[in-house]
């Protein structure tokens, strides 16, 4: 396949399949570990595995293609380091979430249970630290684009969550707040694709 076309396909697969599945892991992991029919739980467990595999495969292939094509040093250092760091942070988060969802419900001491329940936040803090480092190390063009994406994503997420809160009040099903990162990632994806289409 033409390398340019392959790179574009990989970017679309990364954003359209890998990232939504990875974001859906926030919802999938608690469901995979909770009580319910085995088949349904296995189905939820497949989501984070498939998401991580897709993300790793896309990143690995893109970085190898870029190295072969003699891409700019900055791109290799900045993106290469970021992808490795965010992947590690995400895996740490998933592991901490898995441990907490498995261990916490069986604990009797409510204080300790609350404390253990906050452990995945350490993984989330790690993800935030990686994203902040990514933003700080970006060159000025990418920093401007990323800040624009963050602003749009935050604004649209506030719009969605506040709108749905009113719908919940009038009887629509109550949703878990784990859906917020799913909405954020989807917004980021739609915004990035939309910007690419209009050529900005």
């Amino acid at each position: 396949m033409n390398p340019v076309l392959l790179a574009r396909v990989l970017v679309v697969v990364f954003w359209a399949v890998g990232m939504p599945l990875a974001a859906l892991s926030f919802v999938a992991i608690p469901r995979a570990l909770s009580a319910g029919p085995l088949l349904t739980r296995v189905g939820w467990a497949v989501v984070p595995v498939l998401g991580l595999l897709t993300v790793i495969l896309c990143i690995r292939t893109l970085l190898r293609m870029d190295a072969r094509a003699g891409g700019a040093r900055f791109d290799r250092q900045w993106l290469g380091r970021y992808y490795v760091e965010i992947l590690i942070a995400f895996i740490v988060y998933l592991m901490l979430s898995t441990v907490v969802v498995t261990v916490a419900p069986g604990m009797r001491d409510s204080g300790l249970r609350t404390l253990i329940g906050l452990v995945p936040s350490l993984g989330m803090a790690l993800i935030i630290a990686v994203i902040m480092r990514w933003l700080r190390n970006a060159d000025e063009y990418h920093r401007a684009r990323l800040l624009e994406s963050f602003a749009v994503t935050a604004a649209v997420t506030v719009f969605w969550t506040s709108s749905y809160s009113y719908l919940e009040m009038i009887g629509l099903p109550r949703l878990n707040s784990f859906w917020v990162p799913v909405v954020m990632t989807t917004t980021w994806f739609v915004w990035s694709i939309g910007r690419a289409i209009v050529g900005r």
């Binding site: 003699g70 891409g71 700019a72 040093r73 900055f74 791109d75 900045w78 060159d139 000025e140 063009y141």
Partner: protein
Amino acid sequence: MKNCVAELREARGWTKVELADRLGISRQSIHAIESGKYDPSLPLAFAIGKLFGKPVEEIFGEGCGRKR
């Protein structure tokens, strides 16, 4: 903003990747600057001017292409 970064780069036989490496920025940034989609900050504009050995006003804006 109009600029003649692409012309200056091509005159030296550099690729976008080479220019990006010399300035320590990404290839996409060079593409965005050359196509006029992004106007660089003053520090980056001065770095570009220094690299090409020209004042900023000869590279960016209406001055582009006049005194070359």
